[in-house]
């Protein structure tokens, strides 16, 4: 054991730092787990990120990891690292509430492929996290388990739907968390809580054993502190799974190996169409400063337009609404009162969309992807946008249950993230500043299909140039 590290210091480590410290014998898994549990005990009453804490099981797993290391047994790449996950990842025999009243007692019949892969890598699963009901809001409101609160200021929303994942990683309750992303549900809590979130290419990560929301747009991915964390996490969870016939068969590269910090000559397209229109001044200013940071490391910044965005936005609005409505039809007929108002009201609109327009939206998806790539990623390596156009809203001003007039602000939260679900492109959000109220601002980077390595390389270089991702809220 090297120099002792205090408990508070341990909680501040990134996922890869914690894993590497454990592998090097500098810290025990038990100490890492105790550091996380101490933070949860001290601060989660205000944040409300945890639905189920498996304290004893986590400490038992940590003790086994310590014993395995002492015995010289092989260790996985995430050995000894405590995590918690959005409560929609099934683990056989455990309740998976999906953030809902309807599934409050649902016992999962199988374990999600991503959890199996994290288990195999040695990660410690400490339990389940708060989330938007059935992963269907962009703010983190939850009428059944209580709203999740932003650790930077408890009056503000966390972003959703992976609310507990974003808030808990930001609050240093654990080192990584699975979220899911159908319209921005990883990237929104990442940007709003000041952490890093990665949505990979559509089909990149298997969805077996994961609650569905929209077959066409659902994605599995991590919320973590750094791009390096996301790289390791993705490498261990991506790749075809026979249980998910839709999962991609493309080989999974060593993403961490590409994180050289060298982005000289990287061609960054700034899509001025749509993504910057109506952006709040602090967001626009932080975004421009972030571009300067990328340029400082040698990236070449170019402004582009994308005429495809109008169609992309219109069709994006159809697909997940229709698919969500189909999945929930029985419950919407038989027990609509068991949904929160904001959810049943959104689902209801999905039944009004004609079938031919849904098919048209799916049919135009490939051609529009080709057009968007031609406009923004031909001659360029990544496209950059703010993740959230506006400053972070409060929980009150996006609460539809309290006032339907908040509908517009509620729906606007995911304006810049939804298009990339329709397009299926790999997209990351990372912290790039704070507004005058001390709430985080995020930078979104996307690349061509299966170019996660490019996105991660750019994000990592940005984080080598800046320290926004190192800042933690004072709880």
């Amino acid at each position: 054991m090297n120099a002792p590290v205090s408990t508070s210091d341990l909680a501040m480590l990134s996922m890869t730092e914690a894993a590497d410290a454990f592998a090097a014998g500098e810290v025990t898994a038990t100490a890492l787990t105790q550091a996380c549990l101490a933070r949860i005990d001290a601060f989660d009453a205000g944040v409300n990120s945890v639905i189920r804490l498996d304290r004893d099981a986590a400490l038992e797993t940590a003790g086994a990891a310590d014993a395995a290391r002492a015995a010289g047994k092989p260790l996985g790449a995430l050995a000894g690292v405590p995590m918690m996950h959005k409560d929609m990842y099934y683990r056989a025999g455990k309740v998976s509430t999906c953030g809902s009243k309807i599934r409050r007692d649902f016992v999962a019949p199988k374990t999600a492929t991503v959890l199996q892969r994290l288990d195999a890598a040695g990660a410690i699963d400490m339990g389940a996290l708060n989330m938007a009901e059935f992963a269907q809001n962009p703010t983190g409101h939850n009428a059944h388990f209580g709203d999740c609160h932003n650790p930077w200021d408890l009056a503000y929303c966390t972003g959703g739907s992976s609310s507990g994942s974003g808030a808990g990683v930001a609050a240093r309750f654990f080192y990584a968390a699975l979220g899911s992303d159908t319209g921005g549900s990883i990237r929104l809590p990442a940007t709003i809580c000041g952490v890093t979130g990665l949505k990979a290419t559509q089909t990149r990560v298997p969805r077996t054993g994961v609650m569905p929301l929209s077959f066409s747009a659902d994605n599995v991915g991590p919320l973590v502190r750094t791009a390096r964390d996301a790289a390791r996490f993705l490498a261990l969870t991506a790749g075809h799974c026979p249980g998910d016939a839709t999962s991609a068969r493309e080989p999974v590269p060593d993403y961490e190996a590409a994180l050289s910090g060298d982005i000289r000559g990287l061609r960054v397209a700034v899509c001025e169409t749509y993504f910057l229109e109506g952006a709040d001044a602090p967001v626009a200013a932080a975004f421009e400063t972030a571009l300067l940071a990328l340029a400082a490391r040698g990236a070449v910044i170019t402004r582009v337009k994308a005429a495809s965005m109008r169609a992309i936005n219109a069709y994006t609005a159809l697909v997940s609404r229709v698919e969500g409505a189909a999945i929930h039809a029985n419950w919407m007929r038989e027990q609509p009162q068991d949904y929160a108002i904001h959810l049943s009201s959104r689902l209801y609109g999905g039944y009004a969309i004609p079938a031919h327009l849904y098919v048209e939206a799916l049919s135009r998806r490939g051609p529009l992807l080709r057009q968007f790539v031609a406009e923004t990623l031909t001659g360029f390596d990544v496209v950059a946008t703010p993740t959230l156009k506006t400053r972070v809203p409060t929980l009150a001003e996006t609460d539809i249950d309290a006032d339907p007039e908040n509908w517009g602000r509620f729906m606007a939260v995911s304006a810049n993230t939804r298009p990339f679900n329709f397009l299926g492109l790999p997209t990351i959000s990372l912290p790039c500043g704070f507004d005058e109220r001390g709430l985080p601002i995020g930078l979104q980077l996307a690349a061509r299909p299966f170019a996660e390595a490019t996105v991660l390389r750019a994000a990592d270089a940005f984080q080598q140039e800046t320290d926004w991702h190192r800042r933690a809220p004072a709880l």
């Binding site: 290419t201 609005a317 007929r333 009201s345 609109g349 490939g366 299909p449």
Partner: protein, 68 residues
Amino acid sequence: MEPELVVPTMEAIGRWSGVSLPNAAARHGLADHAALIAELEALRGTMVFEDEPSTFEAALRELQEPAR
């Protein structure tokens, strides 16, 4: 002023899906459809006869980064 489409849309949903209006916010959301319909009107004629949903997965594979 509520758009005219709201009431007939509620009737169509009930008839086709058997789902009833769950709350006032849902009615508010339906009013939002007027803007969406206007956007879709602007796209009429853009889908070509041969377009089919399966082209998306093919596009994902074909549009990968060129080797450099």
